[in-house]
């Protein structure tokens, strides 16, 4: 355990700030800082949490640790898609725990220098709500949406989801604002 921890630490040191992990949803490429990624896991059975918002895929047994898995498509309102052999769960460290983000596929790790990341133009329409977007990585022949990993994990629609569930929920539901 201690050894693995030391390696992970070393790894984090080696991975530089401008290295990003690129993944795909539909045909669009997205990127998050590679330093935040713990590992990439193939799809495994998750346990459904009946009281969780719909975009929570479930709880994964990650070698004895519990990891909540967020379904990227559902969280950002894309059409649902059955998991296939390309589907991956990106494991990101958050508050000392692993959290999974389920994506269509993982492409590669690339370097996007800071000066290549442009602010999202005001008028631009994106499928992912702009508050999650750090900027747009302009590379030679591709355009990568750079995301803020922490926001994806922490900024939850819990409040809304909870409120919706409550009002449509059981007898004990309370309409608290």
């Amino acid at each position: 355990m201690a050894q693995a921890g030391a390696q992970a630490e070393l790894g984090a040191e080696e991975i530089e700030k401008d290295q990003y992990l690129v993944f795909k949803i539909t045909s669009q490429e997205y990127a998050i800082q590679a330093a935040r990624v713990q590992e990439i896991s193939r799809v495994a059975a998750t346990t459904n949490v009946p009281t969780a918002p719909p975009y929570i895929e479930g709880i994964l047994n990650l070698r004895g640790q519990l990891a909540t898995v967020i379904n990227f498509r559902k969280k950002f309102g894309f059409d649902p898609k059955e998991a296939d052999e390309d589907t991956r769960i990106i494991i990101v460290e958050h508050g000392g725990f692993p959290i999974g983000v389920m994506v269509d596929s993982v492409e590669e790790v690339i370097r996007i220098p800071d000066d290549k990341v442009q602010k999202l133009p005001e008028a631009a329409a994106t499928s992912v709500s702009r508050e999650y977007v750090t900027g747009v990585g302009m590379l030679e022949d591709r355009l990568v949406v750079v995301l803020d990993a922490d926001k994806i994990l922490t900024k939850s629609e819990f409040a809304e989801a909870e409120a919706a569930r409550r009002t449509s929920g059981g007898e004990e539901a309370e309409k608290t604002a």
Binding site: P50, T51, L66, R165, E171, E172, A173, E174
Partner: protein, 542 residues
């Protein structure tokens, strides 16, 4: 003897540090007793012994500054015993101060940082001199004691990290064993089953032993409390007697660690806001001195801890007003809701701003922290109060964390776990025996009326609504509720895994456990269901 000098004495440092720590505790206890009753001069001997031992051992390791100060302190004790000076508060305070300084100096030696204590020592020595009538002598040469005889080693010091690791590994072993059971269920011959049974027995035995190795008496932490309460009380010009019962009871180290901060909160609150000033107490016909009682008891698989004061209690009327004002209780509910439910608001997050603190005799501070700590350990916290008479906080804690026996139940096609220790029994009752009374469902078991909750409804899941229900009767704090489930799957020893911050937001569950087939079963947050019964407005959280 000449060879003695060549030995690297640093190997004795750990022993020196732990002996010194024990000594300081003894000295502190003795001084507290002496302070309470100045007639108990025999306590002076205990303090003197501590300083003497410290002087010798410090000199042996070459810590001359510590030895010198300890010698001075010993000196004053000799004079006290010889009635050359009398036991006054001033002298007791100096002794406390000296012991504290020595303790800090020793701690620094342990951390290998040595600062210059010269000025502090001179100051203290000066105080010691003026406290006495006779002049204090300069530090005398110190006698090095003969090395202790070599004894057979009966105990070894083990770092808690190693125990933690062992504990986790046992947990993994358990998961592997459960998995093996699942894979081999119904297959294999007699021989294989025998081997499996042996493995199971051994794993259980290892688990018990590792668990036992992590138990420490609560006094490890409690011993700090008398001094803390004394200092707090003096600071606020109050007079408080701290009575501690059950100090010898043992608890898992991690549980004890997790609970020490919340306990300190409760004690601080009791001294600061529960217990009145001596004049206020006298005006009310109470004794000048307040009593603060910290009781630890073992009950079945739980530890019960009470923090009780005989202070002013909580003003429930005011509490109710504030709870309404803050929006914790609806105005129309204010009159109907029971006192017990009003008190629950005390533990709500956000019910702790200074404004309310003053209104509510300060009972808001940190109480949410106490609840969270208890809950994270799978325990509960409760409070009862009587105006003018006092307040009692009661915590119920598990003996150990992590490995617990769980009852697995099925609801709406999912398997959920309930800690077995809170399960009284499982039974099957006819749907027609469940009656609707007002807004809740009940059934009768023997002579008792028990509230019934269909888990399928609570978790918003479909399920069978047949003629019969499997009911798990769970108990907590002397109350019972019945949980309707689709079926009981079985029992399993397992480790409870904590939730990540995202999963912590999910209502109805408090963690997870890994089943034999590697899948995760969620742990039902039964404690919250009880809250749910008494305080319906907040759904699952009390």
């Amino acid at each position: 003897m000449a060879d003695e000098d060549k030995i690297d004495l640093s190997i004795f440092l750990n022993e020196y540090l732990s002996d010194a720590a024990v000594g300081f505790q003894k000295a502190s206890d003795a001084l507290l007793a002496l302070e309470k009753d100045r007639g108990r001069v025999e306590k002076l001997d205990e303090v003197a012994r501590v300083f003497h031992t410290l002087k010798s051992s410090s000199a042996m390791l070459g810590f001359d500054d510590i030895a010198g100060l300890a010698h001075c302190a010993e000196d004053i004790l000799v004079k006290l015993k010889g009635n050359q000076i009398s036991v006054s508060q001033g002298v007791i305070d100096i002794l406390f101060e000296t012991a504290d300084t020595l303790e800090r100096m020793v701690t620094e030696r342990g951390e290998k940082v040595v600062s210059d204590w010269g000025a502090r020592i001179t100051e203290l020595m000066e105080k010691i001199k003026t406290a006495g009538t006779a002049q204090s002598e300069a530090a005398a040469p110190v006698i090095i004691p003969a090395p202790p005889p070599i004894e057979k080693i009966e105990t070894v010091r083990v770092h808690i990290g190693l125990l933690d690791e062992l504990f986790n590994q046992v947990g993994e072993l358990l998961i592997a064993k459960n998995r093996l059971d699942t894979i081999l269920r119904g297959t294999g011959g007699k021989e294989l089953r025998e081997v499996l049974a042996t493995i199971a027995r051994t794993v259980n035995a290892i688990q018990e032993n590792v668990t036992a190795a992590r138990l420490v008496p609560v006094d490890e932490i409690f011993q700090k409390f008398p001094r803390m309460v004394r200092d707090l009380a003096r600071e606020q010009r109050k007079e408080v007697d701290l009575i501690m019962e059950g100090r010898e009871i043992e608890l898992d180290k991690s549980v004890l660690d997790a609970i020490s901060e919340p306990l300190m909160h409760l004690l601080r609150n009791a001294v600061g806001h529960g217990i009145e000033s001596p004049t206020e107490r006298e005006a009310q016909g109470k004794g000048k001195r307040g009593t603060l009682k910290l009781t630890t008891k073992r009950a079945e698989n739980h530890i019960l801890m009470d923090v009780e004061d005989d202070g002013r209690g909580i003003d429930l009327g005011r509490m109710r007003e504030t709870a309404v004002m803050k929006g914790f209780i609806k105005p129309e509910e204010a009159e109907l809701i029971s006192d017990a439910d009003v008190m629950k608001v005390l533990f709500s997050p956000g019910f702790s701003s200074v404004e309310y603190v003053t209104n509510l005799s300060g009972r808001g501070i940190g109480l949410n922290v106490v609840k969270i700590a208890a809950r994270e350990l799978g325990g509960t916290v409760d409070v009862v109060t009587q105006r003018g008479k006092g307040t009692r906080f009661s915590m119920m804690l598990p003996l150990t964390t992590a490995i617990v026996q769980t009852l697995l139940v099925e609801v709406g096609g999912h398997v959920f776990a309930i800690p077995s220790e809170i399960v009284l029994e499982t039974m099957r009752i006819a749907a027609s025996d469940i009656k609707e009374v007002a807004d809740r469902r009940i059934f009768v078991r023997g002579t008792e009326v028990i509230s019934f909750f269909l888990m399928n409804d609570i978790l918003g899941m479909g399920g069978r609504h047949g003629k019969e229900h499997d009911v798990v009767i769970v108990h907590m704090g002397g109350k019972f509720i019945g949980l309707g489930v689709d079926g009981v799957v079985g029992q399993m020893d397992n480790i409870i895994k904590p939730f990540d911050p995202i999963a912590q937001e999910f209502k109805g569950f408090s963690g997870g456990t890994i089943l034999g087939d590697g899948r995760v079963a969620l742990l039902l947050d039964v404690a919250a269901m009880f809250g749910f019964e008494t305080l319906r407005k907040e759904r699952y959280s009390v």
